[in-house]
Symmetry: D2
Subunit: 334 residues, 4 copies
């Protein structure tokens, strides 16, 4: 096969198929994908065939947390980039709408995002993407760590929305991969304190290993927080933590799952709390790569499994086999 | 009587009583109150004896939207201010806590606010307050209009929180006094468009008279809005309007009443909408006074009744007598 | 001639020549230019052949303040736009660099800007541009007024940089076309006060006619200002006005001409004044068009001359003939 | 002596004199001063008797970087604070002016600042100050390190003004005590890179020891910077570094000395650079104390001398004896 790819056909039906090797067009690069992280959204498409109104109606390659090596460049791209290790920002915006022109390209209604129907993802040997969305990895980074610029970008975006910085106290709900990354990013942003809650003591143990403060999910927080970063998608978790938010504090809703969010209006008003949700990220990749390369984000306790492309299905299901599994990586060339 | 005052004793029990004339202390001024607006909160205390956890447990003078003339100054205050017409910002913060030092004094936990238990209000001939919270009215303003710097401040705060300005489309829910003021303030901030909704066609007619766009409450908005200013306190109104909020838009919850607010999480996230509530205002009085004095806020269609102090109870109940009543003014010296 | 154009060959050598009618490419529109404003930069290129390091080394069409009618659309553009009156934002950014992705496309190092060497401008019957940089004029606007979205954008950008809004006092240095526009935009942004200074009493008379505060250039300002918008390019004017800037105030340098700007360091520090310069604008066209269409910017006293394309040279030199001339408009189809 | 104090009488005339022990008034605390840093401004008053228009016209105690133990509390202050180690923010604002109410209390025109004429400073065994400007030191901090919350606050303010954070490249001019602190604070704020320049290779060696990037003052910076923090007061240093500032970058002028600052207008405009100066700081002490206590700021290479109160003059002159001296500490009880 020239470009073996892991293609979702139906619910619970992932097949390794050959696809043509894509050629880079104007301003594009062709990348030999070396590592792709498995995200909860990949698992969700595999199991449910949809996420909200994004429905898989035709076979689609999964995977959007990718890094690899530039193997060809299209017209207008510096040939000196051949051979570069790059992290691939997975969403290509239209560059022409109001959101794009104002720098909020993550909100572009016409964004084409890896492994979001009908766009194919990166569980494949080769992909093409726009050259400016293929970010050169800093020296010393390998492809597995570079691929994590995607979830780390989610964390960077959460810290930016939460105005995290020195002097600010942060509480992260959820010690899954995104929660553990958001918490570490908040620390890298200089937060005064970062605590993580989870129902699972195993996951809290990972948080503790990473040097983060931990709190069992049902305990009361001993102090107020300036930023609450919600990474569970659980309405109950949010409701429990909301009274801990300080005056002028911020609540950033990263976790998906609930249909609605219910907030205590009296608290929201009397403390003038700001609440928002995040949708991916914009302009975060260079920062995310630097945080990883400078070891301010420790990914190793989170990276719990590596799988060749042929075993992509096992990578998606790693959590079923091992409850301690956090983040699986697919290696298309292994 | 030297200082007749309208004192709430029990639910539905408002009495005109004499109180001692207060003397100004260090840094304070004594003000002969010329006009005081009736706010929904005054009516609520009168009818229910409480607002949330703020409970009237001892007789309390009502009224917090006041303007009047400086009749005496305490130590440290410029005697040149004697005779000045001033608008009184009703909440005196502690000036020492974190919130005060950071300029968010409206969030001071120890603020003393007129007619919020146990602090007496301004339905009285004389009050004292801190000199720097008695703002000199611009030339040409009378006491009735100067007293409206309080509700106009609510509108200024809403526009600030909503990032209202040229190019921004605004929707205001509710055409009561606060809604009509918020909408006019948004226009004064330069908004591209300002529309107001209400269930009452009478109130919408006032909005139209003020030159504002109007929309019946059950109709769909024809365009997206960048700022949604909620002034009804109705969860249903908010839920109906929320899908109109544009990407990166802001929702400002001014209206009280509901215990909780429920938001569509998918919209909140996919559009990265910001939601907050307002609690009074800070540093708005000079701006509010200027907006009134320069006729950018037209209060006349809103000022629907004037009452002498002896008829304060009628002022509170004006809405029962006349469904068109919007804002009553108590004139302590009339 | 199919596309008569006013081409600058050498200093003081402007020729009307025929150029091919440009065809719109992918995502582009062809526009029949109906009106183009003459900017100081056009005059400067005509007289000096350069502005700083931007040097005219080959014949170049002048003009960048353009509006016209869409006469053809390229692939991917809605045909419904044919016939639309549009204002043309003159700088097309690369859309791929850091500045573009972050929404600061005016700082794109590869921007292609009308009438900035080597890019041809819009003193011509036909131009093509990207569809999303051709902004639909609001109903009721004619081409002459729509073309003024360009200088009005300069004013919008200045007000944004200066954080102009209600409660803020503004001083504009210079009552030329840009100063008069900046001042009116500041007023539309809700400024508490807007004063304009100029050496010329004629120009101040225009400011007064527009309802702006005026101040002779050598007089002292009676009050502090929160935003100082410099539109003269004169170092002396700035030095004279700088001590009027209030604590935490902002200075926005719009005017060009001086090589360096010298600031009193003690004032800059003890008042924590912010100083910046503007370079064109970004994301301002819809707002600028709305400000013009809603008559919040009165352009008529500024529009002092209209010339057919054949008299473009006279349009450039209008100020020599008439010291009262402010802004000339070239009409390519007249 | 009950309250020996180091009093500046004339230029070069510092005397140890007894002063009455001050008693705390309402809302105040009495503090036994354990450590006071020597600042360049103390040395400047000693040598020149003035800084700009702040002139020593009567004997004045020097010193404003103080920490100590609460020995008495005034009315309204929690007695539980007795015995607390506190860092003293040296400027008490009026709390009533516009600047104070808006949270910019460092710009209060009536601030009373330790050792700024005519206010006495803290080279003394006892001082009183307002309770809310005496910040509880985190556990584990000693008085010497707590006193450094003052210069660290200067650094925090510079990073805030410079919008320093992850992804931002920082250049600090000057490797004196303030430069070394500003650079470390920028790192704690998560900066992508922090480089320091100085004419002195000795000082650069200290910077290198602290793990900071170093650059000889005459070399060219290899990359652009997003924040330039000027700590030398040298116009030449600023002029040399200014072309390194990136588009939309910020220049923060901390160093004093020059009368004026001259900036390249073309660069300021074409890159839309923001320039400001800092005047002390506001709301920084808790953050500064946390940065010290968590060892994100290493002060030990900077703390080069400790002196008993009796040798305050030697502390001021330490730099004359030893060119490697950076920061001297006076210990009033040693």
């Amino acid at each position: 096969m020239t470009n073996p790819s892991a293609v979702l056909h139906e619910i619970n039906d992932l097949r390794i198929e050959d696809r043509p090797v894509p050629e880079p067009g104007l301003g594009q690069v062709q990348v030999a994908v070396q590592a792709v992280g498995v995200c909860g959204s990949d698992i969700h498409y595999y199991r449910h065939g949809r996420i909200n109104d994004m429905i898989v109606t035709a076979p689609m390659v999964l995977g959007h947390e990718a890094a690899g090596t530039i193997t060809a460049v299209g017209a207008g791209v510096d040939e000196g980039r051949l051979g570069e290790l790059v992290a691939l920002e997975p969403g290509l915006p239209c560059r022409h709408c109001d959101q794009c022109r104002e720098g909020r390209y993550n909100l572009c209604p016409d964004v084409r995002f890896f492994a979001t129907p009908p766009i194919d993802g990166a569980f494949a040997r080769y992909v093409v993407t726009d050259a400016d969305f293929a970010f050169t990895a800093p020296e010393g980074l390998d492809a597995v760590h570079a691929s994590m610029a995607e979830p780390v970008s989610v964390g960077v975006w959460a810290s930016l929305k939460g105005a995290v910085g020195p002097g600010r106290r942060v509480l992260v709900l959820g010690a899954g991969p995104i929660g553990l990354i958001c918490a570490q990013v908040a620390r890298a942003y200089g937060a005064l304190s970062v605590d993580v809650t989870d129902l699972s003591s195993d996951r809290l143990a990972v948080a503790a290993e990473l040097g983060l403060g931990t709190l069992s999910a049902d305990s009361a927080l001993s102090h107020e927080v300036d930023a609450l970063i919600e990474c569970t998608g659980s309405a109950a978790a949010l409701a429990h933590a909301f009274p801990s938010v300080a005056r002028a504090g911020r609540v950033v809703l990263v976790g998906m799952g609930a249909d609605t969010v219910e907030l205590d209006l009296g608290l929201l008003q009397s403390r003038e709390i700001w609440v928002t949700g995040t949708f991916r990220y914009a302009n975060t990749y260079p920062t995310a790569l630097d945080l990883i390369a400078s070891h301010r984000i420790d990914l190793d306790p989170i990276l719990t499994g590596k799988f060749p492309l042929a075993e992509s299905e096992r990578a998606l299901l790693a959590g079923d086999e091992d409850p301690h599994a956090l983040k699986s990586i697919v290696l298309p060339w292994a």
